[in-house]
């Protein structure tokens, strides 16, 4: 076989593997949408909008709030111009070595949208399981500090730190640490794993809320026997959610036994 044909064949097989593993798109009307589609027409979810509400058929509004054409005036405050409620970000230093530009005010950007629902009430806090102890060290000198510290408490809510800048300067600082230098930190080479426009790692760096690219319904939720959750990994090339997860993690750093030390 000619190399070009081999490549095509490999490419086709890869596509086939991805296609078979990926879950439904959020907007898929034939299969039904994914779990982030809370519209009343989605046949795949238990918890969804009121079918008698016309707006309940829209699929974007559950995360992306539409503009109001008709704001109310505030009766106690008639002088204030009516405005929409904007979203801004604040920041503070995260990695404690001076000169490392990893500003950090968790959560910023798109991660706000995720965490505004994934609060342990409206949507699960996605616990990683049982309680672990101790802070996560970026290294001897460079551990994440401040309230955003990814410590045992943070792990209980089950999320990797988000909204921090991860660029060449930050990487360089991590690699120069005596402990972290052996943990293979790098900027993501897997093209599906993307930082945001401001070089920040966000929830969407590893998760694609619009379409699960990995195996659907993989992880059982211990308290709710029988229910499973989709991991929504951005990458599905390995054909199963565990390997997909590992690939996503490994594109930035090693998987360390007991990573939360």
């Amino acid at each position: 076989m000619k190399p070009a044909i081999v490549s095509l064949l490999v490419f086709s097989l890869a596509i086939a593997a991805i296609a078979s593993a990926a879950g439904p798109k959020i907007s898929d009307s034939a299969m039904g949408g994914n779990k982030h589609n809370l519209s009343s027409l989605n046949t795949n979810v238990t918890y969804k909008a009121d079918p008698s509400d016309p707006r309940g058929r829209e699929i974007c509004i559950f995360c992306h709030t539409p503009h109001n054409a008709a704001p109310q005036t505030t009766l106690w405050n008639r002088r204030d111009p009516t405005a929409t409620f904007g979203h801004y970000s604040s920041s503070s230093l995260v990695i404690s070595r001076s000169g490392v530009p990893s500003s950090y005010g968790e959560p910023t950007g798109s991660s706000r949208l995720c965490l505004s629902c994934h609060d342990g009430v409206t949507a699960g806090g996605v616990s990683l399981g049982d309680v672990l102890s101790g802070p996560i060290y970026m290294g001897i000198n460079d551990k994440i500090t401040g309230i955003a510290l990814f410590d045992s408490s943070k792990i209980r809510s089950g999320h990797h730190p988000v909204s921090f800048v991860y660029n060449a300067a930050v990487l360089n600082a991590i690699q120069s640490d005596p402990v972290k230098s052996s943990e293979n930190y790098m900027l993501p080479s897997l093209q599906e794993v993307k930082l945001d426009r401001e070089e920040r790692m966000q929830c969407t760096t590893c998760h694609n809320p619009h379409q699960n690219q990995s195996t659907e319904e993989t992880y059982p939720i211990p308290p709710n026997v029988g229910r499973k959750i989709a991991p929504f990994w951005v990458y599905g090339g390995k054909g199963n959610a565990t390997d997909d997860r590992d690939a996503v993690c490994l594109t930035c750093h090693n998987l360390i036994v007991g990573p939360f030390r």
């Binding site: 809370l38 503009h67 405005a83 604040s90 706000r112 342990g120 699960g124 102890s133 408490s153 809510s157």
Partner: protein, 354 residues
């Protein structure tokens, strides 16, 4: 790991109690932090809501600064051991000076006694370590009710933090969340995944599920609940983008708000509370504020914007209004509770110093 954590937590509680016990003669915490002078709306409109203070660290309350931290270091050898607010969700008081804050990611309930300057933590119910406490409420005898969204249980504690019993409905809770207690001592407890509430009497006996399922008024994603003096019930339907109002019997009597990003509308409505004049306060995590409505659903005022200064919010969650019209907001990703005062029109409820 669980055992290790269990012991650590048990140790924390005991130790902090020991630390605090020598501090009974301290002056009560002032409700109003006079360094800040913030009111809504701004002059010349008469102020209707004023900023009182924030609770952000045990050191704000405990007289000897740093003592809590040092004691924890000594115990755990971990300088990062956290007793600050991690992601506070539910907040309630005993209508006096004791503030309870449910902190799901920390996995415990913070208890701030502002009069006695004590900070303690409720970390377990009997032998069971709390998983993800999200809702808190206090009855007129000072008993504390805590809903735990991971353990799928609702626990009752005495005013001293002693575990008393589990509160059980006709079915097992699937994901209990907001709790409100009306003037009759009846508890209304949201079950998010059951898409309804359960009602318990003054003696914690299960009475009924709530509301009545009339077509077009089903709850999509209930999260928080409040009751008013007329026994009406206000349920935040977070993914329905509104607060649904019911009479005591569970019949729908109205709705407040709709989806949107403008004043009067919601993106992620969460905490709900009612003041002594029947105004309804609704927190929106996405809008980083709380909005105040009259009983007809008309918008009166909004308080807050995105940020970390006093009067600003970062993905706030729960709200509670006490009998003195003090407003407590769990400012989740600012890791604090902010306290405000509702000012009656023409009235004179100056903020008292307890």
């Amino acid at each position: 790991m669980r055992n290790r954590n269990f012991h650590l937590k048990a140790l924390l509680v005991l130790s902090l109690l020991v630390v605090m016990s020598g501090c009974m003669t301290a002056q009560p915490v002032e409700w109003r932090d006079t360094r800040h002078n913030l009111a809504w709306p701004q002059p010349p409109d008469p102020a209707r809501v004023v900023f009182l203070r924030e609770l952000a660290h045990p050191q704000d309350i405990v007289p000897e600064k740093g003592k809590v931290g040092r004691f924890l270091d000594l115990l755990t050898g971990d300088q990062e051991a956290k007793v600050e607010f991690n992601s506070p969700y539910g907040v309630a008081t005993d209508n006096g000076s004791v503030v309870y804050v449910a902190d799901p990611s920390a996995g415990f309930v913070h208890r701030y006694d502002l009069a006695n300057r004590e900070v303690t933590y409720i970390v377990q119910a009997g032998d069971e370590v709390l998983g993800s406490p999200v809702g808190v409420a206090v009855d007129r005898n000072g008993n504390l009710y805590v809903s735990d969204s991971h353990r799928r249980k609702v626990y009752k504690f005495s005013r001293d933090g002693e575990y008393l019993q589990e509160i059980k409905a006709e079915k097992e809770f699937q994901r209990p969340a907001g709790i409100a207690i009306n003037g009759n001592g009846e508890k209304f407890i949201v079950d998010v995944l059951a898409q309804k509430l359960y009602v318990f009497d003054n003696e914690d006996r299960f009475l009924r599920s709530f509301p009545n399922n009339l077509p077009g008024t089903e709850l999509v994603s209930p999260s928080n609940v409040a009751v008013d003096r007329a026994l009406k019930v206000y349920v935040t339907d977070t993914m329905g983008f509104m607060v649904r109002v019911f009479d005591y019997e569970g019949n729908p009597v109205g709705t407040i708000g709709e989806i949107g990003d403008a004043p009067g509308s919601f993106a992620r409505p969460k905490g709900v509370a009612v003041d002594s004049d029947g105004h309804i306060y609704i927190v929106d995590a996405n809008h980083d504020n709380f909005q105040v409505f009259d009983g007809e659903g008309n918008l009166l005022l909004f308080v807050g914007r995105n940020g970390a200064r006093p009067g600003e919010f970062y993905l706030p969650s729960g709200i509670f209004i006490d009998s003195q019209d003090r407003i407590f907001v769990a400012d989740t990703y600012n890791h604090r509770v902010q306290i405000f005062q509702y000012v009656k029109q023409g009235g004179n409820n100056e903020t008292s110093n307890r």
